[in-house]
């Protein structure tokens, strides 16, 4: 007994070995020499990673597209209101020169002042045109407002400098109001009476992009409004609408209070159409959440499928594992060989999956004329996610398969 023990050292052969090159070679050979099997094993990872990339890519592309469409409207509009009660000698916080101060700012396309006239008397058209009378919203607007608000004048004109400076009794009707009053055209210079005072209709407004309220109202010059109806009430303070170049709205909003009143910028608040911005964020956010949930589901389903096929693929080769063990492979050789195989297949499937995913996103983008946006990290990480999935999926079965006795493995 003691002799056998002491002899052992002398007689023991060298350990089994497997060089890294041979390990890689064996793994690659096993993948390439059984192409159909390998493809079947990789399908799960391929679909999982592919779907993941498509969903992430689509979510980013669609979000960008939505933002872009929102921004075209949003980022070109600033609304300015008066905060503090007017302390200067002017008629209201805004001065006659306010327009010019703002026009000077870089990025401003046009701007205009408006307010709602509080008291409005019943309106009737000229006797002979129609006898009906009703109350409509009346707005005071300056000469450049309609340009800034993106109004479309279907007949006649807006107010010119003469109308403003000479306080003319002229009026613009929205087409809805004009129709109600029975005014169809301006050929005979129709007039309307507000509380008995006559105003000549000089224009008909058919739509307004940035001040939709004007589409169901009547408009008179600011100067005329003050003459006839007094100063703007605190309930309906004067406002300024600024139309800016694309993307300049935020900057203009910040500069406006100072430009209007260098000494008291706090008198004004200027807001670049934020209300619809938060709507946009909400829409994009909801959409992203949806896509991310789908992507997570795709990757989970993929991973479960992969784990399953890898498990089956390795257990199916139990007798091969028994043979390799009979030929001298150590447990650790077997485990690393089969693990490397599933990692390589995961990597390969991940690469192909993310390539196809990107291709699909690009094709959809082209078909829809969208700008394709994909986070480069997603495309870089996806193949490694495949490798990781392959590794995790292969870990359990390869360790399990290598740990059974070779006699048992050979029987399978």
């Amino acid at each position: 007994m003691s002799s056998a023990r002491s002899n052992r050292k002398n007689y023991l052969p060298e350990n089994s070995r497997l060089s890294v090159i041979d390990l890689v070679f064996e793994s690659v050979a096993a993948i390439l020499q059984r192409p159909l099997r390998s493809i079947m094993t990789m399908v799960g990872t391929f679909l999982g990673i592919g779907t993941f990339v498509v969903l992430i890519g689509m979510s980013q592309t669609v979000s960008a597209q939505i933002s872009k469409q929102f921004n075209i409207l949003d980022a070109t509009q600033v609304n300015v209101t008066e905060v503090a009660p007017s302390t200067n000698k002017g008629i209201y916080g805004f001065t006659v020169d306010s327009d010019k101060d703002i026009d000077k700012l870089n990025g401003v396309l046009s701007c205009g002042i408006w307010w709602q006239v509080q008291e409005t008397a019943p309106v009737t058209a000229l006797p002979g045109v129609d006898g009906s009378s009703a109350i409509y919203n009346l707005y005071a607007i300056d000469g450049s407002l309609l340009k800034a608000s993106g109004a479309v004048i279907s007949q006649g004109t807006g107010f010119n400098q003469f109308d403003i400076s000479t306080h003319q009794h002229v009026i613009i009707l929205s087409s809805a109001v004009a129709t109600n009053l029975g005014i169809n055209d301006l050929v005979n210079a129709p007039a309307v009476f507000i509380g008995g005072l006559p105003f000549t209709v000089i224009g008909i407004l058919s739509s307004d992009q940035r001040l939709p309220a004007l589409e169901v109202s009547m408009m008179i010059p600011t100067t005329t409004a003050m003459d006839t109806f007094g100063l703007p009430s605190s309930q309906y303070p004067p406002q300024m609408l600024i139309h800016t170049k694309l993307g300049a709205a935020d900057l203009i909003a910040r500069q406006t209070p100072v430009a209007l009143s260098p000494t008291h910028p706090g008198y004004f608040t200027a807001i670049s159409a934020l209300s619809s911005n938060s709507l946009k964020n909400q829409v994009v956010g909801n959409l992203n959440t949806l896509f991310y949930i789908l992507a997570a589901i795709a990757i989970i389903i993929g991973a479960v499928g992969i784990a399953n096929t890898t498990l089956v693929a390795i257990l199916e080769r139990t007798s091969e594992i028994g043979l390799r063990r009979a030929l001298g492979a150590r447990k650790y050789h077997i485990a690393s060989h089969f693990l490397l195989e599933s990692i390589l297949m995961g990597l390969l499937a991940g690469l192909m999956g993310s390539s196809c995913g990107i291709l699909i996103v690009i094709l959809v983008g082209l078909a829809k004329n969208w700008t394709v946006v994909i986070d480069p990290y997603v495309t870089l990480i996806a193949p490694f996610a495949g490798a990781l999935i392959g590794m995790l999926a292969g870990l359990y079965p390869s360790i399990k398969a290598s740990s059974i006795e070779p006699a048992e493995a050979l029987r399978r």
């Binding site: 002799s3 002491s6 007689y11 350990n15 089994s16 390799r324 030929l327 492979a329 006795e405 070779p406």
Partner: protein, 238 residues
């Protein structure tokens, strides 16, 4: 060897040095459930160069015995020496290396990898021994030549006949020049003509000095062996 001579008495030396397989009170129980004792107190020894046939009815424990000799499984109790090395106390790493270098296997169902050519299958036996691919390939071709299959070296197992497949398996078993070749019904899946050719090769190997242990049901095989061990109900009766 010098160590053996120093520690052992002179009378023991011859036996010790030439003992390839030795079992002392080996028994084996399949854990089940239910547990099943397949071998009872086996004592035997095989000397270098012997050609031993293992006989016995189905289920008598022949394969179980061969698995223990081949270090493919561990005995439940008792001692097993391979080339005088007490194999039962060795760790997994050393048993693997003993299998790789000292033992060649030939199975009834060939156990060739279907995705590898005949040559690659033979080379596989050297994968865990030598890092040189060139060396592996040269040795494998030499072994294939010994079984007369040089021309079919690049064929896949599916392109080979049953007899040819078993000859590839024999080439794989001998490529490492082991001390011991273990065959579990090597001709079980072959017709008698093909079987005869495979047995001729085994005869040649035996003549060249290799130790052979062959499980068989066939009289044809048993007759060629110099000695036979008979199993019955898990016991070695002769």
């Amino acid at each position: 060897m010098s160590l053996i001579r120093r520690k052992q008495s002179r009378d023991d030396t011859f036996l010790q040095v030439n003992s390839v397989v030795k079992m002392e009170g080996v028994s084996y129980v399949y854990k089940g459930p239910p547990p099943l004792q397949a071998l009872y107190d086996i004592n035997m020894e095989i000397i270098r160069g012997e050609y031993v046939a293992i006989l016995g009815p189905s289920g008598s424990g022949k394969s179980t015995f061969l698995n223990l000799v081949g270090l493919l499984d561990r005995s439940t109790s008792g001692k097993i020496y391979i080339d005088n090395i007490d194999a039962e106390t060795l760790n997994e790493r050393t048993r693997s290396s003993l299998r790789a270098r000292k033992i060649g296997f030939v199975f009834q169902s060939f156990h060739l990898l279907s995705y590898k050519s005949a040559l690659e299958n033979v080379m596989l036996a050297q994968l865990y021994i030598t890092n040189s691919r060139k060396q592996r390939s040269a040795n494998a071709l030499e072994a294939l030549e010994k079984v007369g299959l040089t021309k079919r070296a690049y064929a896949l197992p599916s392109e080979l006949s049953g007899g040819e497949r078993q000859r590839v398996a024999i080439a794989r078993a001998i490529v490492n020049k082991p001390s011991l070749i273990l065959c579990d019904e090597p001709t079980g899946n072959l017709d008698s003509t093909t079987a005869a050719k495979v047995l001729d090769i085994l005869d040649e190997l035996s003549l060249s000095g290799l130790t052979l242990v062959v499980i068989t049901h066939s009289k044809q095989v048993a007759d060629r062996a110099k000695r036979s061990l008979l199993f019955s109900d898990g016991m070695l009766v002769r």
